[in-house]
């Protein structure tokens, strides 16, 4: 990663009395696959539309290589967008669609055609130049949209949930391809999605958003393994959230008292001692163990067979539900429903967050 290509500086967006973005700040680096991840209504698409220029910002600045582009109309911003439903021009051929942006920039027909063909080659669609978008499958349309947005070599490519209209199998194949194209072209991608798996598999960095705020920015691994708060821990992957009394916090480590009385040391983003915290326990980092070594003791309530994994549902003495994920190979030693089970927290299973 070299310099910053886009610098979002305290951007505010209001629709009437509703505030969609609350002073959002983030930097996107050159050559980066950056994902805006969050539930619907979190402001991720609004932020993307602000970068593209379709929504004027209510406050703050959007800088592209240091220059504030917030006052510029969309057709003067060197960024291109892949729309959620592609918005391919139905009355033009595939080639004409891809040439459109280049011709608006003043390229000659010959040059524009050459570049458009290159872009279509990049997405493996060279055989469909003369077709109309309506004659292509959803996956092919998505590639045309990508080629059309990449052809003018934008400084940043914006992608608004481009995979959501594809079926599951295709979506998984396109993910890897998209990532590969991003590496090949070296253009910074800003990818909007509500699908955490998509975000984790493709991104260099992720900004997790909710209610118009950025909750955390970091690499996929960091977001998953060291969530900054309860929202991120809960939204990314599965987790068990258990309220616990906090005994002490120092140097990023917390000491808490587990239900049942055992003390546990675990990492935390909190710096000051709090009376009560929320312990996030990742289900796949919990294992079964004999009662004498157990960190937690639970009553098994149910099992869900998931193929590679088996999900064990259990209840703490206080009645709180817990989920544990066990590898299918270990299926033979699954506890009977209603029996008492000891749980061992492996390294990295627990993280203390503010309540």
């Amino acid at each position: 990663m070299t310099g910053t290509v886009i610098n979002i500086d305290r951007v505010v967006k209001r629709f009437g009395t509703f505030t969609a973005l609350h002073e959002v700040s983030l930097d996107i680096a050159e050559n980066e696959f950056f994902t805006l991840l969050g539930p619907s209504g979190c402001g991720k698409t609004t932020l993307l539309r602000c970068i593209a220029g379709f929504e004027p910002v209510s406050g703050g600045q959007i800088r592209l290589h240091g220059e504030d582009i917030a006052p510029l109309p969309p057709f003067k911003r060197p960024v291109n967008t892949v729309f959620q439903h592609y918005a391919l021009f139905p009355h033009m051929t595939v080639l004409e669609n891809v040439m459109f942006g280049l011709q608006r920039l003043g390229w000659s027909v010959v040059d524009a055609e050459g570049r458009a063909k290159q872009a279509l080659e990049l997405v493996h669609l060279s055989q469909f130049l003369k077709r109309r978008p309506g004659q292509l499958s959803g996956g092919q349309q998505q590639r045309v949209a990508l080629a059309r947005a990449l052809a003018p070599e934008p400084k940043v490519l914006l992608l608004d949930e481009p995979l959501s209209a594809l079926d599951l199998k295709l979506r998984q194949a396109v993910r890897m391809e998209l990532k590969q194209i991003q590496r090949e072209t070296g253009i910074a991608f800003v990818f909007v999605t509500h699908d955490q798996e998509e975000a984790l598999t493709m991104s260099d960095r992720i900004a997790v958003m909710s209610d118009g705020h950025v909750q955390q920015i970091g690499a996929p691994r960091e977001i998953y393994e060291a969530p900054a708060n309860r929202f991120v821990a809960d939204f990314i992957g599965e987790t068990n959230l258990i309220e616990v009394p906090v005994l002490g916090i120092s140097d990023g480590m917390a000491e808490v008292s587990l239900p049942g009385g055992r003390a546990l040391r675990c990492p935390t983003p909190l710096s000051r001692a709090v009376g009560q915290g929320v312990l996030s326990l990742r289900p796949e980092r919990i294992d079964l163990c004999p009662a004498s070594e157990a960190d937690l003791t639970v009553i098994a309530t149910d099992q869900v067979y998931l193929g590679t994994d088996i999900q064990l549902k259990a209840q703490l003495a206080g009645g709180q539900e817990m989920t544990v994920r066990l590898q299918n190979a270990e299926a033979t030693r699954l506890p009977e429903r209603g029996t008492e089970v000891g749980l061992k927290l492996e390294a990295g299973a627990a993280r203390l967050l503010s309540a």
Binding site: G53, F83, P90, F100, G134, A149, P152
Partner: protein
């Protein structure tokens, strides 16, 4: 649950037949008798095209040709102007976002559909008299443009509603100015609706009688007023031939308008 089948209602067939007869029997009679060889309008004297020949070469033919020419010029110009105004109105209504008085504007555009035609006719006449315009092709044209606007507007607006604004956003994202986005993207996509709107306005103008009769000056005739004038002196078979020709033109244009509107819908 069984679907309600209208055809099982008692008397369905009789009512349908009655409606069809009332609506189409007069047209059928006129069309058939236009091929009558006899000079009588009630007695059948064998099949002949003589009245069609009479329309183009008979003693009354110069009068009808002048009237037909007036009708054609007025219908084309009124259709074009109404389409232009209706297209602009549709763009404003569907692309300018919300603005104050949008609902009122919509009502205003479509008002001529609701106002009784005779009221529009009287009002137009009073207006032209008040501002000192004397009746002629000009006043007919102005009146026709006015009442053709809603007919052109409806298919254009319907078409425009089916074009999502993401196309223009995509165009602007790809460095097209708002004007280029309109000219290169929105306009071509709206074209079936615009064409359909023009044809509808054209045909509405072509066969308007009431308003035309009020605002036309003495001596200026369109085809409908000329036919009415001729009928006052007694119905002759050549009137039936002219009417049948007009019916044919109307059917062709309305069908064309419908087909174009439909094909455009199916493409996107």
């Amino acid at each position: 649950m069984k679907q309600l089948d209208l055809r099982r209602f008692p008397g369905f067939f009789a009512i349908t037949l009655l409606c069809v007869v009332v609506l189409y029997a007069p047209l059928l009679v006129v069309s058939v008798y236009s091929f009558n060889a006899s000079t009588s309008i009630t007695n059948w004297g064998g099949v002949s095209l003589e009245w069609y020949v009479d329309v183009f070469t008979g003693p009354e033919s110069p009068k009808f040709q002048r009237a037909a020419m007036n009708s054609l010029i007025i219908a084309v110009l009124a259709g074009l102007c109404a389409t232009l105004i209706a297209t602009s109105a549709a763009v404003a209504m569907h692309r300018a976002g919300r603005f104050k008085g949008k609902t009122a504007t919509f009502a205003l555009i479509n008002l001529p559909l609701m106002v009784p035609e005779v009221v529009t006719a009287v009002a137009s006449l009073i207006f032209f008299t008040a501002i000192g315009f004397s009746g002629g092709v000009g006043t007919i044209l102005l009146a026709h443009i006015t009442f053709c606007i809603p007919f052109a507007y409806l298919p254009i607006a319907a078409r425009m509603q089916s074009v999502p604004d993401s196309y223009e956003q995509a165009a602007m994202d790809l460095y097209a100015t708002p004007w280029e986005a309109f000219r290169l993207i929105l306009l071509p996509l709206m074209m079936p609706g615009i064409f359909s709107g023009f044809l509808l306005a054209f045909i509405i103008s072509l066969d308007d009688f009431l308003i035309t009769n009020f605002v036309k000056g003495a001596g200026v005739e369109t085809l409908p007023t000329a036919i009415f004038g001729a009928v006052k002196q007694g119905i002759k078979p050549n009137i039936m031939a002219i009417s049948t020709l007009m019916l044919g033109v109307s059917v062709v244009f309305v069908t064309l308008s419908w087909l174009i509107g439909r094909s455009g819908q199916a493409k996107t």
